[in-house]
């Protein structure tokens, strides 16, 4: 069977000593940074991206995938132990996880999160491997019009998920698209918006934007509210869940995995939506819970954690097969691939099969390492949470700055990062969520390219987007999404859902 052959190829790539080492290093460093409160996977990835530049592409992507899983799991650890979500997708885990920690069941919560995530990750990887081929075949039917419409759908999907104002999120996307256009125009060779700065001719560095807007702005915001951090170090308790807890957790993990796998594929979906949805479903499904939700019910940890990991996994599908990132994390992965001169898209699988399947195999290995690594090392992560922030953040800054510099060996990039730090802080103060901006930034040049090609092929007739059935379907889906979210009823529930976790 093809699937088996492909996975075999993948594992033979991923299981070389060097690649295992990179996956291991990625998971370890990812967790290390992800555990720090207030630093989510996007910021972690942005900070650690430069570290992988020196590696060959396959190893670099394997390490990045490891960093992503590590960061995500690190975030859950912080959520459970400190009640500080490192990222939006572990916000839900906070609710019941922290309460479990207060009851002295932190160990069980952490173990459930790890094991649930591992199971979900395994299922997600299998789905990814199975869907990859048909998706790539579909992708080859796509013309420029379809790609343009698909990107529009992806961007709209991302907006629906951004908390807060819809119009603001759309504006952030448009701003991102525009920032992405800075630099030399591929068709005419004109350097746009570069103001005669030679460094800007290649466009604004993607790492500078991500690190400034996410990393630096977050550090400054963290310094504002000096946290009263309460770590339940002494009461991590036994790691293994009791039999009763186990029985409760298993169905929750299964439901979470199923939900997460489906939602992850959707444009704009991924970990965040999956975690929210899974928690809501658990609340609805469970009648007469022994421990009410919100007071330390193990299902409230098991379901969202499985869902966000499954979603994290399947959100690789559109990125790897179509080259279209469904969320900000995948946008970062696309950025990383481009830096290694790999144009993401359906051709990656055919032209670079060992990279493609190696990455998929290494995802599973990364998930396995998470369990192996995190459960025994929980003590260390807890110690890390005790290091005062005033010592941590200068260290983080040092690694960020050296990282940014090393991309092009250019100090200009460092200064750009600082500029985007200011912008990021402004966004933070004005409550403009930055994730859509990153997505737009990555998609900007791609969208323009496909728009131009589609219009050229149709000889300037814009109806081409509506007359090609695939393209029309995608646009209708986008319109439906906007319509649904704009309905007063839904928008109220949506606001409440985001409010509940504030």
């Amino acid at each position: 069977m093809d699937l088996i052959d492909n996975l075999a190829l993948g594992f033979s790539t991923a299981l070389t000593f060097a690649n295992i080492a990179y996956a291991f290093a990625g998971v370890l460093i990812g967790t290390l940074i992800g555990v720090l409160p207030g630093i989510g996977p996007i910021a972690t990835l942005a900070m650690l991206l430069p570290m992988t530049y020196a590696l060959e592409p396959t190893s670099a992507l394997i390490m990045l995938a490891g960093i992503y899983y590590g960061a995500q799991y690190g975030g859950s650890t912080t959520a459970i132990l400190v009640n500080l979500p490192g990222e939006s997708s572990s916000v839900v885990t906070c609710i019941d996880g922290y309460q479990m920690a207060r009851r002295g069941r932190a160990g069980a919560a952490l173990a459930t999160a790890a094991l649930g995530s591992f199971f979900a990750g395994t299922v997600g990887t299998l789905i990814l491997a199975a869907l990859a081929l048909p998706m790539v075949e579909l992708a080859f039917k796509f013309g420029p019009a379809e790609y343009f419409s698909l990107m529009a759908l992806g961007l709209i999907g991302a907006v629906v998920l951004a908390s807060g104002s819809l119009v603001k999120a759309i504006a952030m996307i448009v701003l991102g698209l525009l920032l992405g256009l800075v630099g030399t125009d591929v068709n005419s060779g004109v350097a746009r918006f570069n103001f005669d700065v030679p460094e800007l001719a290649d466009g604004i560095g993607f790492v500078a934007v991500a690190m400034g807007v996410f990393g630096f702005a977050e550090i400054i915001a963290n310094l504002e509210h000096k946290g009263q951090r309460q770590v339940f170090t002494d009461k991590v308790g036994k790691l293994l869940p009791t039999m009763a807890e186990f029985k409760e957790a298993v169905p929750a993990v299964l439901r979470g995995t199923a939900l997460g796998s489906v939602l992850g594929v959707l444009p704009g979906g991924g970990a965040l939506l999956a975690a929210f949805a899974a928690y809501t479903v658990e609340k609805k499904v469970t009648r007469n819970p022994k421990i009410p939700f919100g007071q330390g019910n193990i299902r409230g940890v098991a379901a969202p954690e499985s869902a966000n990991n499954a979603g994290a996994q399947t959100s690789f599908i559109p990125m790897l097969t179509l080259g279209i990132p469904p969320n900000a994390v995948m946008a970062l992965m696309v950025g990383a691939m481009t830096i290694h001169n790999i144009q993401p898209g359906p051709q990656v699988m055919t032209s670079n099969p060992s990279l493609f399947w190696g990455l998929i195999a290494s995802m599973w290995i990364g998930n396995l390492m998470l369990v192996v690594l995190n459960l025994p090392l929980i003590g260390i992560w807890v110690q890390l949470l005790k290091v005062p922030y005033r010592l941590l953040y200068p260290a983080i800054l040092v690694f960020c700055c050296i990282g940014v510099y090393s991309i092009n060996n250019n100090s200009f990039d460092v200064l750009m990062t600082a500029a985007f730090g200011v912008l990021g802080y402004l966004f933070y103060k004005l409550r403009c969520e930055p994730a859509p901006l990153i997505l737009g930034f990555i998609l900007g040049p791609m969208m323009e390219e496909n728009l131009r090609r589609a219009m050229l092929l149709s000889r300037g007739d814009p109806t081409v987007f509506f007359t090609r059935p695939l393209s029309l379907t995608l646009l209708l889906m986008a319109a439906a999404l906007i319509f649904i979210v704009a309905l007063p009823q839904i928008s109220r529930t949506r606001e409440e859902a985001f409010h509940e976790v504030d």
Partner: protein, 153 residues
Amino acid sequence: MQIRDAKDFWSGIMFAAFGVFFVVFARQYDMGTAARMGPAFFPTMLGGLLLLLGAVIAIRGLTAQTKDGRVDRFHFKPLTFVLGAVVAFGLLLRPGGLLVSLAALVMISSYGSDEFRLRDVLLLTAFLGVLVMIVFIYGLGMTVPVMPVFLRD
């Protein structure tokens, strides 16, 4: 006229300003035609859209009914010291070398915290200096000047 939701109002103004910026600066490039778009086409389109969105957001900021519309106070101290430290690092790296710029980065940025302790910061600087030398210079073989200009041979 009274600003009801200042966060929305000022975000709207910000977006509109960005929109105008891109539209205006796109004018020096060629628009082209719908079939053969020039470099100005897409930016102008998006810039106009952003201006429109910004206007909508700003107007909503004037009319919205909200309780917590005020923009939180800007904390200029962490902003200045953290980003100032980054800028200092960028400017010092070539002439001053890695160790000098690292020391500047750590010390200036530490000053942005309210709990600045000189002894800890000095220890941290030394620790990070050694760590960075081991990891980036010897480990990853990064090519960056380590010493200041006048100490290089």
